[in-house]
Amino acid sequence: MTTAISVRDLGKQYKIGAAQQKFQYNMFRDVIMDTLMTPVRIYRALRGQGMRGAASTSLIWALKDISFDLEEGKVLGIVGRNGAGKSTLLKILSRVTEPTVGTVSVRGRVGSLLEVGTGFHPELTGRENIYMNGAILGMKSAEIDRKFDEIVDFSEVGQFIDTPVKRYSSGMYLRLAFAVAAHLEPEILVVDEVLAVGDAEFQRKCLGKMNDVAQQGRTVLFVSHNMSAILRLTQEAIVLKKGQLIKRAPTAEAVDYYLSSGQAESGERIWGVEDIPVTSAPFKPVAIRIKDRSGKVVDTVRSTESVTVEWEYQLDAPITGLRVGMYLSSMRGEYIFTSFDTDDAAQFEQFGARKAGRYISRCEVPADFFNEGRYSLGVNASSFAVRRYFMDENALSFNVDISGAPGTQWPEVRQGPVRPRLDWKIEKID
């Protein structure tokens, strides 16, 4: 077997800190101060200290000491929390950004399904954009000529092919963009599902395409938070944690390791400063906890008792239209429910606009809800149709113990993520 990708001691360092803060003017006073400080800043920039000033700059390793080889034709899953370095790794492999240290050798063309529609121009027609986008992705025009009909068929926009894409619906736009990317036929395909745009149908299509590519014997790197997709589509996976490769194993084992070690914070997840993206300001998550009936923070809950989920967060500035909530999903990645603290209209009246300060949003999941197994809790804080402040699809996971639950007198596995106690009535009608 030949090696498709070989990564040696790879590291990528980023400057964090002032760059983002710089343009977050909260007060007019800051603007004035900033203007007055301009000469100082220019002086520093000229002396090579950069706009940020030495004091407020800090460097972090987004990736450190990563080494692995991947044989041709293999499908490798990459799992890890947000900020673990997954996307950075893919960006280095596709040469978008340079590593700080280390080397990578890549055999063949790297294509990615995260770059769909890049370079599309709204004023150009579908036909023109196919050529444009193809050239950007590295196709020769002869190659595009040959695949043109196939691309148009695949995109299902045939009759609008000579219409400017600004007149397309967003679905048509995405289909066309995806069709071009899907026909690039690179030796190595990189899929970052975390960044994937579009509706569920579109994402399904992405995964389908990825499967096809894998079956043609090409090399695929797949990043996802969806464990069931990782389990289904990859044979092997690596686990990244804080920029380091901590595990490489057959997928089932790696996923198991990730779920049990990566999230191991025993019923409580506390966000440190470095875990919170700057873009989430003014929303700042503090902690999320799972508590049993007695108020104790627990890792394992009993399905026969109600469970309290508590999310503590800080608002550095008032937010209007805020809703803070959670997704519950099974370990296989299926969603079970989504719920927000201001789902109730009266509650939204009262708390839709929240002043700066520290809050706890607390809810109770009733008894007799969970089935046996492990569940994952995701969190989301957003203003509907305005902005998503913070999201972590895998904030916390916990176990459910089902002793005493309905049907436990039979020692069998019950299908389905929920195990409600239903009110059965049995009537004899004859």
């Binding site: 760059a19 040469r95 978008v96 340079e98 050798s105 890549v106 150009l124 050239a135 950007i136 025009s141």
Partner: protein
Amino acid sequence: MSEIIKHEPTTIYIKPSKGLAALNLRDLWLYRELVYFMIWREVKVRYKQTMLGAAWAIIQPIMNMIVFSVLFGGIAKLKTDGNIPYPIFTFTGLLPWGLFVAALNQASRSLTSNQNMVSKIYFPRLVLPLASVLSGLVDFVIAFVILIGMMVYYRVMPTANVLWALPAFLLLAIVTALGVALWLSAINVQYRDVNYALPFLTQFWFFISPVAYSSGLISEKWQLVYSLNPMAGVVNGFRWALLGVGNGPDAGLWISVGIALVILISGLYYFRNMEKTFADTI
């Protein structure tokens, strides 16, 4: 089913580039089709949803010519070289000048306005400013037709030198524009101040270039300093080739050429050196 499978895939080595990164012009050559497509896209899109369309390519220099003719030719009565009528004198200068300014305006924004391309895909970043600069040639050719018309009207015969000199001076204009554009576009990735400073830069540059006046107005002892501006060499060269006025290639021209090359080469190195962090800082 695909031609890629047939030939042996090439191995790419990715590692941090040390010091002044190699220029890697080979990559640019591999992506030459992209340069072509980007030029084509810029040209195609430039006058979309305008009423007058490509006519803008000639309206702009003609309006400038009229304003200058009234102000400088009519009111200030600036002398032109060799009794050439002022309108055609200034129009000959406005052609390469328009190319230069449009190139700077387009190219300095070329990276930031294609932000999602830069932050998502690999391709030689040089493609973007290069295509912006070259796309100006289309407008140049359209406006050139007007110049030919004016030459017929004013009965001005071009010199025989026009055949080699015009392409050569056009190349000098492009080299200068590309060099400055490389600096500006790379700086613009980190410091958007470029967008605000550029109008002043081009205005200042306009006044130190002999577009509205003749470089003969500059006193002898300042001529050498004056020719440090490559655009002075370009404009004078255009007039010499097309209208047969001025000295033609002299020591000053070689200074212009030298400066233009210094700007281009330093621009290339600066650009390549900044290129590795474009995706992170844009």
